[in-house]
């Protein structure tokens, strides 16, 4: 009997979820059957996390119906979902680091001795026995934080499964596992499948999906783009479903604000403005080499979690590295210091504007001047007049729409906030600007303006590293594209190779070994 002939254990029927300003889920229907491993894929903002949170009782849907074991279900809290038998393993290990391994595993279900008091010996024994089945061999009395992340994840998994789960949802479970641990995990998933538990497996690692998953559902922009068996689905097709790019569809140029065809020759001869060599960090980056020449726009392509943001962060010293070096104009940069990077002329416009960029309680003027203050100061004292001059120049140049420089930056539109951030970094006169999703979440008009601005800046000799999930933006904006997969550069495209099809094909290429 086919698994899908069995009645679905967990089913979403036309689920919608709206957040202020965003329709995160738009009529998504999806069924999980007992004994199947179901892949859930989609790019950033596709609605995966929201869907998982609806399944696990964190969010309540605004529309549609959730059915669990044949009956309509409404989980008020994560606890309610868990008690009903839906367990989740989050990407970030959600355990208590300072408590012992055994107590984490058995919290709430500790073996009791006389007088209802916890029997510590029995607890340690049981924990050791359970964890042995997950390949975790450790002193269970030690604090959880002493374990490696992989082993911690195994404890989380063991905990999730041992609470009588019927559905186990795994959110990027392998992102911090060693190959050996991945094998153990796949063994556990196999056991779950045999015992009739439904597993929802969220990952961007295609190799893994094809190894362990039976079926796949693709979310895009809050809608279900595809659902079906994985076995017959071609990799390239899967990627095009995720990215929303039909194969063979060729767009006419000029949709974006990029309006330039610089000849590759103009930049080929000059020395790179910034050069990163062998950037390595365990589980994140694996020997990434990137160089950006003056006036060159280099794109970073790849799926979510491939290491694009991490590469940018590593270059500006915002992420500790296990190995690798960043050279600015041939001089090595002191690692781990964003100050050193900024001083050398390398700045990052971060992906998360709200959390890592703007300071909402400050004015436009203050937000722009912030990073440039050291260069505007004389003897530690900053002249108001000089700030005003700089702020005025950039507000005009970037066409920032604000009532006055003293308006709070939080009152501006997303596009104008992004321009304020651009102004902040341009004010320090960088040689290279790293832009992480510079046009995400801003309206179409502002998007074209920002894109045109990137063009303009590059023509003036600024080196740009452009990270974008928008393939069109990447293809039209970049002179050269490096494609990342699982923290490593798997392809470089330049000249006529810079096409959406080539990027997708490079991502899809099977990794050998």
């Amino acid at each position: 009997m086919r698994r899908t002939d069995l009645e679905a254990v967990l089913e979403a029927k036309g689920i919608s979820k709206r957040f202020p300003g965003v329709l995160a889920l738009d009529g998504v229907s999806l069924a999980l059957h007992p004994g199947e491993v179901h892949a859930l894929v989609g790019e950033n903002g596709a609605g995966k996390s929201t869907l998982i949170k609806v399944f696990t009782g964190v969010h309540r849907p605004d529309g549609g119906e959730l059915r669990y074991r044949g009956r309509p279900a409404a989980f008020g809290t994560p606890m309610a979902a868990q008690h009903a038998g839906i367990s989740t393993i989050y990407q970030e290990v959600n355990l208590v680091p300072m408590m012992s391994v055994a107590r984490n595993l058995l919290l709430g279900r500790e073996p009791r001795g006389r007088l209802g008091v916890i029997d510590a010996a029995a607890m340690y024994e049981e924990a050791a026995r359970v964890l042995a089945g997950y390949g975790v061999d450790t002193d269970v009395r030690r604090p959880l934080r002493d374990l490696g992340v992989g082993a911690q994840q195994m404890v989380a998994l063991a905990r999730a499964v041992s609470v009588d789960a019927r559905v186990v949802i795994m959110d990027e479970p392998t992102s911090s596992l060693e190959p050996r641990e991945v094998e153990t995990l796949f063994g556990v998933i196999g056991r779950l499948r045999e015992s009739g538990i439904a597993v929802m497996y969220v990952s961007h690692r295609l190799d893994e999906l094809y190894r362990v998953c039976d079926r796949v559902s693709v979310l895009r922009d809050g809608r279900l783009a595809h659902t079906g068996d994985l076995a017959g689905l071609d990799r390239l097709k899967l990627i095009s479903l995720m990215l929303g790019r039909d194969l063979g569809e060729v767009r006419t140029r000029g949709v974006t604000g990029f309006d330039r065809r610089r000849s590759a020759a103009s930049t080929a001869g000059s020395a790179p403005a910034v050069e990163a060599r062998g950037l390595t960090r365990r589980h994140v980056l694996d020997g990434v080499d990137v160089s950006v020449g003056p006036g060159e726009v280099v794109g970073l392509g790849g799926l979510l979690g491939a290491g694009r943001t991490e590469t940018a962060k590593a270059i500006v010293g915002a992420m500790p590295l296990d190995g690798g070096q960043v050279l600015v104009a041939g001089t090595p940069l002191r690692g781990g210091s964003t100050t050193a990077a900024i001083r050398a002329g390398v700045s990052l416009l971060p992906e998360d504007r709200k959390a890592e960029g703007i300071i909402p309680t400050l004015s436009v003027r203050e937000n722009i001047a912030l990073a440039a203050l050291p260069s505007l100061a004389r003897g530690g004292v900053v002249s108001d007049a000089r700030i005003d001059r700089v702020v005025e120049i950039f507000m005009r140049r970037l066409r920032i729409k604000a009532a006055s420089p003293d308006q709070l930056v939080s009152e501006l539109s997303g596009g104008n906030q992004q321009k304020v951030l651009l102004a902040r970094w341009l004010a320090v006169r960088p040689k290279v600007l790293l832009l992480d999703e510079p046009t995400r979440g801003i309206d179409v008009g502002a998007k074209a303006e920002v894109q045109a601005l990137i063009d303009e800046l590059a023509q003036e000799g600024l080196g740009v590293l452009l990270i974008s999930s928008d393939l069109e933006e990447l293809v039209e904006g970049a002179d050269r594209i490096l494609v990342l997969r699982e923290g490593a550069v798997v392809g470089e495209l330049s000249g006529d190779e810079v096409t959406e099809e080539r990027i997708m094909a490079t991502i899809a290429d099977q990794a050998d070994g």
């Binding site: 606890m79 408590m99 709430g108 510590a120 002193d139 030690r142």
Partner: protein, 318 residues
């Protein structure tokens, strides 16, 4: 586990106890009158009230919170006990406990249900309770005397050279240890302080646990106040103002992390005794006023916090 890691862990958990032992040894060698039964008893007796409150505070701090209202509750508890003693020993004991439990319940509910910062909520509690106490005592003009001899005996009587409050403290400390280490409630307290979000996802009843923690802290503060009133035979309205800070200091010196998630009762008891021994040693020196005790305690607290920071860093690195 590396040896360095082990050392830092032992230091973190038992540092206060080790320093305490060291001070006792030094004190015994330096001052003839220090290592006497009388002096030891006086340190233990005077520490017992602080210890009772600190036991409750340990639960609060491990859960990631703070309770600033305990000093005021201690005073209020004393006033209520003295006031209630005219109706007999049972009322003298239960009246302060009931009132303090209600205050703790209110604070706990506000903290757990609204997610407001414990610092602010219990600061409001501190002020409100202090006002209540002043209203009861006509702004401190009226001092209620303990009129019931049986109740007074609870604070003043004793066996084997130690007063009853000391035995109450020992019993409470032992009970608290079991509660913290060997019951689901204790585990939940650690889990919430260690990672509240994870605890909620693991099915810990976060709100209920928090409410209980604040009720417990308030109850113990009230009990300490009542016992203190019995000891002094009156509901003194000025002692105990600012006591919450001494309590927090003792708990932190005892190795409980202010950030929550780690700590224990043994450390807290050691921390309380340590403060008492420092006081006693300064008294021995003679020409130093007791104000110096606060200078030394303050310096010591700063030292402990810095050491904790370094130790936890060492543990993370290894």
């Amino acid at each position: 586990m590396t040896s360095r890691e082990q050392v830092s862990r032992v230091l973190q958990q038992h540092g206060a106890l080790m320093v305490l032992a060291l001070l006792v040894v030094v004190g015994s060698v330096a001052f003839d009158s220090f290592a006497t039964a009388g002096n030891a008893a006086s340190v233990v007796v005077s520490s017992s009230f602080l210890a009772i409150i600190a036991i409750g505070m340990t639960f609060v701090i491990i859960s990631g919170g703070i309770d600033l209202s305990v000093g005021s509750l201690f005073v209020l508890g004393g006033v209520l006990a003295a006031y209630g003693s005219r109706y007999g020993p049972v009322v003298a004991l239960l009246l302060p406990l009931a009132v303090c439990a209600v205050v703790g319940l209110l604070q706990g509910l506000v903290i757990a249900r609204t997610g407001m910062a414990p610092f602010i909520v219990t600061l409001a509690g501190l002020l409100g309770v202090r006002g209540l106490m002043l209203a009861l005592s006509d702004e401190g003009a009226t001092t209620y005397l303990v009129e019931d001899p049986a109740f007074a005996a609870l604070g003043q009587g004793g066996v084997l050279g130690l007063t009853y409050p000391v035995y109450v403290t020992i019993a409470l400390a032992l009970g608290a240890m079991v509660l913290l280490q060997r019951t689901g409630f204790g585990q939940n307290v650690y889990a919430i302080g260690g990672n509240e979000q994870a605890a909620a996802l693991m099915g810990v009843p976060v709100a209920r646990t928090k409410v209980r923690v604040y009720v417990m802290s308030a109850l113990l503060a009230g009990l300490a106040g009542a016992l203190n009133a019995a000891r002094l035979s009156s509901g003194v309205t000025i002692l105990g103002i600012g006591l919450e800070l001494d309590v927090i200091a003792a708990v932190v010196i005892g190795g409980t992390l202010l950030t929550g998630g780690a700590g224990g009762i043994t450390g807290t008891v050691a921390g309380v005794l340590l403060l008492g021994v420092i006081q006693s040693l300064i008294n021995q020196v003679g020409n130093l006023t007791s104000a110096f005790q606060q200078v030394v305690s303050g310096a010591f607290l700063a030292l402990v916090v810095v050491a904790q920071r370094l130790l936890s860093k060492a543990q993370r690195l290894s």
